[in-house]
């Protein structure tokens, strides 16, 4: 159980320490996340090519995790802006699996339905729908569904590119399907009943 220690009172802290969110995220992350080892050095944010578009740098987000600020963390756009370039990951002195923690936070935010801009979650979900239907990605279906829904204003400007991709044979109009779709479906259905708990 979290304790309100004398040290925390002397330090002027008004809440008892609650690391349950930190542990929850760490457990749900693939591999051994090392999230608890973060020393708040800020190397991650300083290495991030997309930090300027983030609500919080990764360092700040990890401090918020440690402080148990569940709602604020899951509302942050940071995990959605992360481009998975792994610059922070190879530079982190504590070897925190930062990019994988971001994936975990995305999954938690979708479940909690807290992240307000639906563009990114919908894109991921549409991609996953295609893969779950065909076993392969289907760029034309994905792009048309996604742009019509979220970026209709981008469509006119993108016409030359779309036409170029089609005429140059770089985008198929029909999806490819794997042979053993039943097998893949059985695997994924089973997988959906499982969760990392320890």
């Amino acid at each position: 159980m979290p304790q309100m220690t004398d040290e925390r009172v002397r330090a002027g802290l008004t809440r008892e320490e609650d690391l349950s969110l930190l542990h929850e995220v760490s457990v749900k992350t693939a591999g051994v996340s090392h999230l608890e080892m973060c020393i708040q050095c800020g190397t991650c944010g300083g290495s991030c090519p997309a930090a300027r578009d983030m609500d919080h740098t990764p360092r700040m987000l990890f401090a918020m995790l440690r402080a148990g600020m569940r709602e604020e963390v899951l509302r942050s756009n940071t995990p959605w802006i992360c481009v998975s370039c792994y610059h922070c990951v190879v530079r982190c002195p504590q070897e925190v699996h930062i990019a994988d923690v971001m994936y975990t936070l995305k999954g938690m935010a979708i479940k909690a339905n807290l992240f307000s801009d639906s563009t990114a979650p919908h894109f991921s979900q549409t991609f996953v729908d295609m893969v779950e239907s065909y076993g392969r990605s289907f760029e034309f279906g994905l792009a048309s569904r996604h742009y019509l829904r979220h970026f209709p204003l981008r469509l006119p400007g993108m016409m030359p590119m779309g036409i170029g991709m089609l005429t140059k044979g770089r985008m198929a109009l029909t999806p490819k399907r794997i042979k053993k779709m039943d097998q893949l479906t059985a695997i994924l259905n089973k997988a959906k009943t499982l969760e990392l708990t320890s």
Binding site: G31, V131, M171, K180, Q183, L194
Partner: protein, 336 residues
Amino acid sequence: MNKYLFYPGCSMESSAKAYMESLNTILEPLELSFEEIEDWNCCGATEYLGINLIPAYSLIARNLALASNQMNPMNGTGATHTIVAPCSACYLNLAKADHYMQERPSLGAKVNQALEAGGLHYTPGTLDVRHLIDILVYDVGVEKIRSKVVHPLTGLHVAPYMGCMLPRPDYKHRWSDHEHPTELVDVLRALGADVIDYPLTTECCGGHMTQIGPETAFELIRRLVADADDRGADLMATVCPMCQMNIDAYQNEMNHFFGTDYHIPVLFFTQLMGLAFGREPEELGIGAELVSARNALAHIGVEVPVTQEPAGPRKKSEGLPMPRRLNKHEGKEVVK
């Protein structure tokens, strides 16, 4: 003949067809034999991992399980336990699943529970997951590549673009450096190309942000293209379908966004290998890029046949100011 299991990945059949076509032309001269994994599925790219963890890893692991079943009949002829991926995102996903299933046995157990529903099993560590350029540099060797060159790319200024997901996070310590690796430089030099200094070589191309947060992606693409241009590159060479797609297909939209006029073609390194090995541009998918490489290749005497170009957007007249949508970064930063 060195035999390998081959995981093409979805884009090799569509947006990166040119990569596949050019790859096919270099296998024989380099004495490589690739056997495709039967009935492979999509690796989930960077999308499934953020939706649901165990299904995402199970999706990847089905490929590993199929490959490990397939490697048994290939006995006796060398590196059969090696699975080669030409796409950096596929390579990373396969390597990641293999690595994390070992590092976190509870993940490995759950993934195998799911695989069993499809009659499959994968023992992590069974396969070596490697990228195409890793095979070319460390198995084939730069000297052998050099020995096959009949048309050196002398005078072609190439920016070597490795991208981010290849040298990082590098679970098995395969690469010369995480941020400034030399593998692609070595291959391009062996082809006789004038490889320019390109410090951004492992910066991100924007990944899926071209789809979900174009403003973020455009800035990343702009940095890469602007730097290549500043340093006098005729073109960029890449090792990944997603990098090629982002920098090539979105370069026009990026130019519109910033009011710039960059024109840096992006070719797969295998296309340049094919040219140097004496193949014709048509055999190598050259011409499929949206930012045409025709002028760049004319420098070295390669003539790319004219294909039907799609009509570009009409040129805006400079005369009348037209209303336009304001974007998020306007006023925040002026970028040329």
